[in-house]
C-alpha cells in the first residue's frame, strides 16, 4: 500500500531512529522467538486459573442445571446475556480497525489491527460460550442450526432474533478469522524463514506456502480488500442483530427502534476501550513504543469520545422518548432504571459511559497513558453495566406488578463471568507467544513514508516547505508524539 510520501505535516506513525525492516522483524518477534519472561508467566497463570474457574463453573451449571445461576421466573436472562452482549460488543473494534479503517486508508491501523483482530476472535469465542451455556439443554444447541433432519418439515424459527444471532455471530466469527489469518500469512512466513527444526515445519504449514513473490503480494492485497469489503457490513450488522434480540421483543425498555445504531456505537466504544486496555500494557511490556505511538493512543481515545457521546445521546434519547411516548409501561421502565432498586447500576453506567469519556476532551488526559488505561477500564465496566441495565432492570419490573422481582447473582454467575475473562486472557497471552502481535509486513510499509525517520530525512534533504517542517516539529512537541530528545 501507500508507499508514496505523505504530507510532512502529518504526525509520524512509526517513531524512533534507525528503524529498519530487520529491526521491525526482530523487535516484533522477540516474544515469539524467545522463552517467555516472568511477567508473561504470572499473567498466564492468573489467566489460566480464571479459565479453569470458567471450566468448573460452567461444568457445574451443566451438571445441575441453570438453577445454579441467580435467574428466576421473571428475570430469565441476567449475567449470561449481559456477558454475551458485552463480549460481542468488545469484538467489534477488531473488525472496525481491520476492515473499515483499511477501506478508508487509515494507515495508523497497521500497527494495531493484528492485536485488535485477535481480541475480536477471542471475544467472540467468549460470547459464543455464553450462547451455549445459557441454554437449559446445551446438548441440543444444534437444534438452533437449520440442519436437514428426520423430523420432516421441522425447521428453525426464522422469525426469532436468536436465529438471526446464530447466523450473525457465526458469519462474523468465520469472516473475522479468515481476515485475521490472511493478514497473518506474510508474518508467519517471516517467522518460518527465521525458524529451525519443528518450529519451521509448523510455521511452514501455517504459512500456506507464502513465497513473497510479487504475484503473492498482489493477491494478498486484493484479498485483503475483498475481505475488508465483506467485513465492513458485518461491523454494522452483528450488533444490530444482537440489539434486535431486545428491540423486536415487547418488553418495555427493550422494544426500542433506537437500539441498532445505539448498540453498534456502544460496541465500537467498548471494543476500542478493550483494545486500549490490552495494547497499553502490551506496548510497554513488549517494547512496542515505536510502533504504537501516542498518536495511536490519542486516535483511539478520540474514537472513544465520539462513540461514548453517541451512546450518551442515545441514553438521553431513550429517556426523552419514554416520556414523549406517553406509554405507561415504557415510562415506568425508564423511571425504574433511573430511580428504581437498580438505580446504582443505571448511574454507574451513566458515569462510566457518558461522563468519564468526556474527560478525553482534555489533551492532557487523552495523551496520558495512565489515564487512558484507567478510563478504558472504566468504559469496560460501564458497558457491562449498560447491558445489565438493559436486560435486568427492564425484565425485573415489566407489565404485571405481581411478578416484579429482584435479581441476585449467585457465586456461579460471578465465576462464569470472571472465568470468561480468564478464557479471553489465556487465549490472548497464548497468541502473543505464537504469533506476531503487530502486523510486521504492514508496519514495514509505513517506514518509507510515514515514519519519523523518513520525515526527518526529507527535512534534512530540504525537500519540504520550511513552514510545514516547522509546523511538524512544533506539533511533535505540542502533541508529544515523540520523546523530546528525538524531535529534531
Amino acid at each position: 500500500m501507500s508507499s508514496h510520501h505523505e504530507s510532512i505535516i502529518r504526525e509520524p506513525l512509526v517513531t524512533g531512529d534507525n528503524i529498519t525492516y530487520a529491526r521491525v522483524t526482530n523487535e516484533v518477534l522477540i516474544p515469539v522467538e524467545n522463552k517467555p519472561n516472568k511477567a508473561w508467566w504470572i499473567g498466564f497463570t492468573v489467566a489460566a486459573l480464571g479459565a479453569l474457574l470458567w471450566v468448573v463453573a460452567v461444568s457445574y451449571t451443566f451438571w445441575t442445571g441453570i438453577g445454579a445461576w441467580g435467574l428466576n421466573k421473571t428475570v430469565g436472562w441476567a449475567w449470561d446475556i449481559t456477558g454475551f452482549v458485552w463480549w460481542v460488543g468488545i469484538g467489534h473494534a477488531g473488525t472496525l480497525i481491520s476492515a473499515v479503517l483499511l477501506l478508508f486508508r487509515q494507515n495508523w491501523r497497521n500497527s494495531i489491527n493484528r492485536s485488535a483482530e485477535a481480541m475480536t476472535i477471542f471475544a467472540v469465542i467468549c460470547a459464543a460460550t455464553y450462547v451455549v451455556s445459557h441454554m437449559g439443554r446445551p446438548w441440543l444447541a444444534y437444534f438452533c442450526l437449520p440442519l436437514p433432519n428426520q423430523f420432516g418439515s421441522l425447521w428453525v424459527n426464522f422469525n426469532s432474533p436468536l436465529i438471526w444471532d446464530v447466523f450473525a455471530i457465526s458469519t462474523y466469527f468465520s469472516v473475522s478469522l479468515v481476515f485475521w489469518y490472511t493478514g497473518l500469512l506474510p508474518d508467519i512466513a517471516s517467522i518460518r524463514d527465521r525458524a529451525k527444526g519443528t518450529r519451521r515445519r509448523v510455521y511452514s504449514v501455517l504459512s500456506f506456502g507464502w513465497n513473497g513473490s510479487v504475484k503473492t503480494w498482489q493477491r494478498f492485497e486484493a484479498v485483503s480488500l475483498i475481505l475488508a469489503g465483506v467485513s465492513t457490513p458485518l461491523v454494522l450488522s452483528v450488533h444490530t442483530i444482537v440489539s434486535m434480540d431486545f428491540a423486536t421483543s415487547l418488553e418495555p425498555g427493550w422494544h426500542t427502534t433506537i437500539f441498532p445504531p445505539y448498540f453498534v456505537a456502544g460496541a465500537i466504544f467498548s471494543g476500542f476501550a478493550m483494545v486500549q486496555t490490552l495494547l497499553l500494557i502490551a506496548r510497554k511490556v513488549l517494547g512496542f513504543e515505536n510502533y504504537i505511538t501516542m498518536f495511536h493512543i490519542e486516535a483511539m481515545n478520540k474514537i472513544i469520545i465520539l462513540t461514548g457521546s453517541i451512546v450518551g445521546v442515545a441514553y438521553l434519547t431513550e429517556l426523552f422518548i419514554a416520556w414523549y411516548s406517553g406509554a405507561e409501561y415504557e415510562q415506568y421502565a425508564f423511571l425504574n432504571r433511573v430511580s428504581g432498586p437498580y438505580w446504582w447500576a443505571y448511574w454507574s453506567m451513566m458515569t462510566c459511559n457518558v461522563i468519564s469519556p468526556q474527560l478525553f476532551w482534555f489533551k492532557k488526559i487523552r495523551t496520558s497513558i495512565f489515564w487512558s488505561w484507567v478510563l478504558s477500564i472504566v468504559v469496560n465496566i460501564g458497558m457491562w453495566f449498560e447491558r445489565f441495565v438493559i436486560i435486568v432492570t427492564s425484565l425485573h419490573r415489566d407489565y404485571i406488578p405481581s411478578s416484579w422481582v429482584m435479581f441476585h447473582p449467585t457465586i456461579i454467575d460471578v465465576c462464569v463471568f470472571i472465568g470468561s475473562i480468564g478464557v479471553f486472557f489465556t487465549l490472548f497471552l497464548l497468541f502473543l507467544r505464537v504469533l506476531p502481535a503487530i502486523a510486521m509486513a504492514e508496519v514495514k510499509l509505513l517506514l518509507k513514508s510515514a515514519s519519523h525517520q523518513a520525515k526527518k530525512k526529507l527535512m534534512a534533504e530540504g525537500k519540504v516547505d520550511p513552514v510545514q517542517a516547522q509546523y511538524y516539529k512544533e506539533s511533535l512537541t505540542k502533541y508529544d508524539s515523540v520523546p523530546a530528545s528525538e524531535t529534531v
Binding site: G65, P138, N157, I163, P401, W404
Partner: protein, 1015 residues
C-alpha cells in the same frame, strides 16, 4: 471440390515415428493398467486420495444410517388377568366423600390420581377446596407408617389384637374408664361402631376434640335457644353480611359451601339481576374473607367484643357508654352496618369467629333482632361438621391425672400437637395404661402411644359422613390398602368381638337399616350418586329473649383483660388450616391467599406498627405469651392488620408430621387460652427482636398494581348506572394489526375469569398441580422466585385515601410517611386475579423461540413442545404476563428436592396423561390439553360434536365459586361465549394487542359513598 487436407494429431503422426506406428496398432495407444488395478497390489497397501474420499463417504453414510436406528421400544406388560372395567388409559371415577363433601375420585389403572367435587354434591357446587384437592397426595405419603407398631416396633395385627384385647379386659376388670378421643365424628357408621364397642366396654366414652373448636357457638345456641348445635348459615340468603373475625370463605366451619353461597349473590348472574350483597368485615388480621369484603375495618381482639356490643346497641337503639372510642373507623362502620342491617332485615346475617360463649350469645341476640333465624340461619338443619366441646377434653385431662382412665384411643386426633396445653395433656397421658392411636403416621400423639393401629387413608376405606342434617355421603375405597393398615373401625369391631368385622358389610348394613330404609334408595344407587339427601326439615324461627345483663359485662371484661401489651390473634391460614395435612407438599407450597407466603408461618404486623416497634420486614422476633410460651419467627408487614396487634397462624411447627412438614414454621397452638370454658385463640404477648433476619418464601413480593389497568374495578353504584363502568369498553376504536389474522375454523378455546367471583382461595392452584404434575420446589427455591405453578393468583393491595384508590408505589410511600394520619394505611382493599397462560393469538413467546418449540394451534391454543425446547428462556422474557415456568433443575431426580415428590411411591400420584418435564425445559399452562384431547376423542367415539361443558379445565372444576369458565368461543351458545359478551369483560394488557384468550370481568365492590367509610 474435394478436400484432401490431412489433419494430424501430433508431431509423432506427422513424422510417423516407429513408436507411433507400433502403438497405433492397438485400440488404446497406451495399455490400460487393468491388470495392475485388479491385482493385489492395486487393491491394498497405499490408499490413493480418491479411494480415501470414497471410503470416507461410505463410512460417513454407513455411520449415519446406523445411527438412524429408532429409539429402543420398551414394551409394557398388559394385565395377565384384566380387572373388569379397568382399561389402560381410560380413567374410572368413583364417588367418595372427604370432610363431608361428596367427591369423585379419578383412578387410572387402579390408582387414585385426582379428586373432583361431585357436581351434584351439596357442599361445594362440584368445586372443592385446596385441602381436598391435595388430599390425594396424602395417600402416597412416604412418611406414613407401613405396619402397625407396638411400643415403637413393627408388629403383626394378631399381636396387636391380642395385646389390646388383653389390656382392655384388664381395664374392664379394674373398673377404669376407656376413652376415645376423636375429631368430630359425623359418620353414622363410625358412631354405630363406637356404640357397639361401648356395649362391650361400658365405661367407654367419646371425647370430641377438634383442633379448632366451635364450642362457643354450640354452647351459645344451647343457652339462647336450647339447641346445642352448630347452625347452617345461609350466606346465599343474606343481602348484608357483617362478620366479626369469621373467615367464612377461607377457614370458618365449611368454607367451600359458604364460598358457593356467598358468590351466588355477587357473581355475574347476580350482577345481571342488578343485585349484589354487601359484606362488612371487622377483624384483626387480614383474612381471605377480609380481602373480599366491601368494607373492612381492622379491630383489635380486645375491641371486637366492644364492636359487637356497639352494633347491638345501634340496632336496638339501647343507649350505652360510648364504645370503640379508640377506633373511630370501627365505630363509624358499626353505625353504618347497623343501618344497613336494619334495612335488610330478614336478609341480614351477622357472624363472629369468636369461640367465646358470651360473644356468640350476643351475636345470637343481634341475629334475632335482624330476624335471621329461619332465613339466614337454620338451627333445624344443623351442621355436624364440628361438635366438639372444649370442656370435655379438659375434663378428660383431669380424669387421666386422677388415674381413672385405663385405656385411651386417638382417632383422627393429635392433641400432643394441637392442644393448647399439650404438656398438661402429655403428662396426664403417661398415667394411662393402654394408649392406642389410629394415626396413619407416628405423629406427635402416636409417638406417645403403646400401639399405633395404622388406619386406612380415606381413599382406601369404606365409610360415610353426615356433614349436615339430612345429607349423607358415602366413602368408598378407590384402591386396595397400600400398606399393612386396617380401618380404625375394623380394629374397634375386632377388639369388641363384634359379629361383623367386615366394615363394608357393616356400613352397608347400617345404611340399609337407616338412610336407605327411610328413603327407599338402594345401596347400589348410593354408590353411584355418592350421597343421599333426605331433604330439609321445616325451618323454625327463633327469637332471643334472654337478658344480656351478664353477657355484656363479661365481654367488656375480657376485652379489658386483652387490652395490654401487644394483642395476639392466632388464626388458621387457608393452605394448612389446622395443620393436619402439614406433610402435604402441595399444600405447603400453596401460597397463603393473603400474604403469598409458602412454607412458613410468620408474625403479621401492620407496617406502621412495625415501624413503631423499630422492626423491618423479615426481622426475626421472639413472641412471648402470657403463659411463658415463646416462638421466634420472621416478621411480615401485613397491610390491614390492626395496629397494636400481631397474628400468627396455627398448623405449623409440626415435629412428627413427616419429611415434608417437620420443622416448617413454629407451633402457635400453645398461645391459645381457655376462657369461660372455651379455647380462645387470642392473648397478649410481648415482642423482642431476636436478632437476625429470615426471608420468607413469598410468591409475590410487589403488592400494588401501580394504577395499571391490568386490574379494573368499579363500585356497584357505578355498575348499576352503567354496566360498562371500569371495563374501559366505552366507545370503539379502530385497531390496526401487523399480523395476519389466525384462522380458527374448528374450536377456539378461551376462558373467562370473573374477578368478582374469585375469592382467592387457591384451590385452582392445587388442582392444577395435581392434574399437570407440577413439581414442588421447596422453600429455598420459592424464595428465589422459582415456584412452578402454572396458575397463580395475583393479590394486590390498594389503599383508600379520601375516596381515591392509592395503588402506586411512591404514593403508598408518601402515605406511609404521613405522620398526621397514622392509620391511613389501614383502609386497604384487595383484589385477587388468577393469572395463567393467556394463550394469546399473537403470542409474543411464539415469535421469539429459535426452535419453534412453542407454536400456535388452529384451536387458539399456545402449545409447548417440551422435546424441542432448548431452554433459551427468551419466550419467558417476552411474555408480558410472566406465566412461563422454567425447569431450573431436574426436580424429579435431584437430591435437593427429594423430600417432595421424588419417592417412587409418591410418584404414583402423577397423572399419566401428562409428561413430567426435564430440566432446562420451559413449561406453562397447556389449557389442560390432555382434557381437551380426551373430550374430543370421547365426542368422536360417540359420533357427535363436542358439547359445551364436555371439557373442563382442572382449575375450573376445582373452583367452588365458578369464577373460571372455559369453552369454545366459536360456539355462540357456550357459557364462555356468553360470559365474554358481558359488559364487564376486559383483557389484561389488551393495548399491546397480543390478543389474549382469557377475558377477565371487572371487579365490582359494593362500597357505599365515600364519606360514610371515612375514618
Amino acid at each position: 471440390m474435394e478436400s484432401n487436407k490431412k489433419y494430424w494429431k501430433g508431431i509423432e503422426e506427422l513424422q510417423k515415428t516407429p513408436e507411433f506406428v507400433e502403438n497405433n496398432k492397438n485400440e488404446f495407444a497406451e495399455s490400460l493398467p487393468i491388470e495392475e488395478v485388479l491385482n493385489e497390489a492395486g487393491l491394498n497397501t497405499v490408499t490413493p486420495r480418491r479411494d480415501f474420499l470414497k471410503a470416507m463417504g461410505f463410512g460417513l453414510g454407513a455411520v449415519t444410517l446406523a445411527a438412524c436406528q429408532p429409539v429402543p421400544v420398551v414394551k409394557s406388560i398388559p394385565y395377565l388377568v384384566k380387572p373388569e372395567e379397568v382399561v389402560p388409559g381410560i380413567p374410572n371415577y368413583y364417588v367418595s366423600s372427604f370432610n363431608g363433601q361428596s367427591i369423585l375420585v379419578k383412578t387410572r389403572e387402579g390408582r387414585p390420581i385426582k379428586i373432583e367435587g361431585n357436581p351434584a354434591g351439596l357442599l361445594g357446587n362440584g368445586g372443592t377446596d385446596a385441602t381436598t384437592q391435595a388430599s390425594v397426595l396424602d395417600l402416597y405419603d412416604a412418611s406414613k407408617l407401613k405396619d402397625p407398631t407396638k411400643n415403637g416396633s413393627k408388629a403383626s395385627w394378631s399381636e396387636i389384637d391380642a395385646f389390646v384385647k388383653g389390656e382392655l379386659n384388664k381395664v374392664q376388670a379394674s373398673g377404669k374408664k376407656i376413652r376415645i378421643v376423636s375429631a368430630t365424628i359425623n359418620s353414622p357408621s363410625t358412631k354405630s361402631v363406637i356404640a357397639d364397642f361401648t356395649a362391650q366396654y361400658p365405661s367407654t366414652k367419646v371425647v370430641i376434640n377438634d383442633a379448632i373448636s366451635y364450642t362457643g357457638i354450640i354452647k351459645a345456641n344451647e343457652n339462647s335457644f336450647g339447641k346445642s348445635v352448630l347452625p347452617r348459615y345461609r350466606f346465599d340468603k343474606a343481602d348484608v353480611i357483617v362478620s366479626f373475625g369469621a373467615d367464612f370463605l377461607g377457614t370458618w366451619i365449611t368454607p367451600e359451601e359458604f364460598s358457593k353461597q356467598y358468590v351466588s349473590n355477587r357473581n355475574a348472574a347476580s350482577l345481571e339481576r342488578k343485585k349484589m350483597s354487601r359484606h362488612i368485615q371487622l377483624e384483626t388480621g387480614m383474612s381471605m374473607t377480609g380481602t373480599n369484603a366491601d368494607s373492612r375495618v381492622p379491630v383489635k381482639p380486645s375491641e371486637e367484643g366492644q364492636a359487637i356490643i356497639a352494633l347491638y346497641q345501634e340496632l336496638t337503639g339501647t343507649p350505652g357508654t360510648p364504645l370503640l372510642t379508640a377506633n373511630k373507623a370501627a365505630a363509624n362502620v358499626v353505625k353504618l352496618a347497623a343501618k344497613e342491617l336494619l334495612q335488610a332485615k330478614g336478609k341480614a346475617l351477622v357472624v363472629s369467629g369468636s369461640n367465646d360463649v358470651s360473644v356468640q350469645i350476643l351475636v345470637n341476640a343481634i341475629n334475632s333482632v335482624l330476624g335471621s333465624y329461619g332465613t339466614t340461619i337454620d338451627l333445624d338443619n344443623p351442621s355436624y361438621q364440628y361438635t366438639g366441646n372444649d370442656a370435655e377434653f379438659a375434663e378428660l385431662i383431669s380424669e387421666m391425672n386422677r388415674s381413672e382412665v385405663g385405656a385411651i384411643f386417638f382417632l383422627d386426633s393429635n392433641p400432643a400437637y394441637d392442644y393448647f396445653n399439650a404438656k398438661a395433656f402429655t403428662d396426664a397421658l403417661a398415667k394411662v395404661g393402654l394408649r392406642v392411636s389410629f394415626a396413619e403416621r407416628a405423629d406427635e400423639t402416636a409417638a406417645l402411644c403403646n400401639v399405633v393401629a395404622i388406619n386406612h387413608n380415606y381413599l382406601e376405606a369404606w365409610g360415610d359422613q353426615n356433614a349436615f342434617e339430612g345429607y349423607y355421603t358415602v366413602i368408598q375405597p378407590a384402591i386396595n390398602p397400600v400398606h399393612n393398615s386396617r380401618q380404625a373401625e375394623v380394629s374397634l369391631l375386632t377388639w369388641s368381638d363384634n359379629a361383623v368385622t367386615d366394615y363394608y358389610q357393616y356400613v352397608r348394613n347400617n345404611w340399609e337399616k337407616t338412610v336407605l330404609a327411610a328413603t327407599g334408595k338402594t345401596w347400589k344407587s348410593v354408590l353411584q350418586t355418592g350421597f343421599v339427601y333426605t331433604g330439609e326439615k321445616p325451618v323454625g324461627t327463633y327469637t332471643f329473649s334472654l337478658s344480656l345483663g351478664n353477657v355484656i359485662p363479661t365481654i367488656m371484661n375480657q376485652g379489658r383483660a386483652l387490652a395490654k401489651d401487644i394483642e395476639l390473634q392466632v388464626y388458621q391460614n387457608v393452605p394448612l388450616r389446622d395443620g393436619k395435612h402439614a406433610n402435604n407438599a402441595f399444600l405447603q407450597e400453596l401460597p397463603d391467599p393473603v400474604s403469598k407466603v409458602t412454607w412458613d408461618n410468620f408474625v403479621a404486623i401492620a407496617p406502621k406498627f412495625g415501624e413503631k416497634l423499630d422492626l423491618e420486614e423479615f426481622d426475626l422476633v421472639t413472641v412471648k405469651g402470657a403463659n411463658g410460651y415463646s416462638v421466634t419467627l420472621p416478621v411480615l408487614f401485613q397491610p390491614g392488620q390492626a395496629q397494636g396487634t400481631i397474628s400468627i397462624a396455627v398448623g405449623y411447627g409440626r415435629t412428627a408430621a413427616g419429611k415434608v412438614g417437620n420443622g416448617v414454621g413454629k407451633n402457635a397452638y400453645p398461645f391459645a387460652t381457655v376462657q369461660n370454658g372455651t379455647v380462645q385463640f387470642n392473648g397478649t404477648v410481648t415482642i423482642e427482636k431476636a436478632g437476625g433476619r429470615e426471608e420468607l418464601a413469598q410468591t409475590q413480593t410487589h403488592h400494588s398494581y401501580e394504577g395499571r389497568n391490568v386490574i379494573r374495578e368499579t363500585t356497584f353504584a357505578e355498575y348499576a348506572k352503567d354496566p360498562h363502568a371500569g371495563s374501559g369498553k366505552h366507545g370503539g376504536h379502530k385497531k390496526y394489526d401487523l399480523w395476519y389474522k389466525r384462522e380458527m375454523p374448528g374450536h377456539n378455546w378461551v376462558m373467562a375469569i370473573d374477578l368478582n367471583a374469585c375469592t382467592g382461595c387457591g384451590s385452582c392452584i392445587v388442582a392444577c398441580n395435581v392434574e399437570n404434575n407440577i413439581p414442588v420446589v421447596g422453600k429455598d427455591e420459592v424464595r428465589r422466585r422459582r415456584e412452578m405453578h402454572w396458575i397463580r393468583i395475583d393479590r394486590y393491595y390498594s389503599f383508600n385515601e379520601e375516596g381515591k384508590s392509592v395503588t402506586e408505589e411512591n404514593e403508598i410511600g408518601e402515605l406511609q410517611e404521613n405522620k398526621d394520619a397514622p392509620n391511613n394505611m389501614d383502609n386497604v382493599s384487595v383484589v385477587h386475579q388468577p393469572m395463567l397462560c393467556q394463550h394469546c393469538d399473537h403470542a409474543p413467546c411464539e415469535t421469539v423461540c429459535p426452535v419453534l418449540a412453542t407454536v400456535h394451534s388452529t384451536e387458539g391454543l399456545n402449545h409447548m413442545a417440551y422435546n424441542r425446547c432448548v431452554g433459551t428462556r427468551y419466550c419467558a422474557n417476552n411474555c408480558p404476563y410472566k406465566v412461563r415456568r422454567f425447569n431450573w433443575f431436574n426436580y424429579w431426580n435431584d437430591s435437593r428436592f427429594e423430600n417432595y415428590l421424588q419417592e417412587e411411591f409418591t410418584q404414583l400420584v402423577l397423572n399419566p396423561d401428562v409428561t413430567t418435564r426435564f430440566r432446562g425445559v420451559m413449561e406453562k399452562c397447556t389449557m389442560c390439553i390432555q382434557r381437551i384431547q380426551g373430550g374430543k376423542l370421547q365426542a368422536k367415539i360417540e359420533k357427535r360434536p363436542v358439547k359445551d361443558g364436555d371439557i373442563k379445565m382442572a382449575c375450573q372444576q376445582a373452583c367452588t365459586s365458578n369464577a373460571i369458565i372455559f369453552g369454545d368461543v366459536n360456539d355462540p351458545g357456550s357459557e364462555v361465549a356468553k360470559a365474554l359478551k358481558s359488559e364487564r369483560t376486559y383483557y389484561v394488557l389488551e393495548e399491546i394487542d397480543v390478543q389474549p384468550g382469557i377475558g377477565y370481568q371487572v371487579k365490582v365492590r359494593n362500597t357505599p359513598a365515600a364519606a360514610t367509610t371515612e375514618a
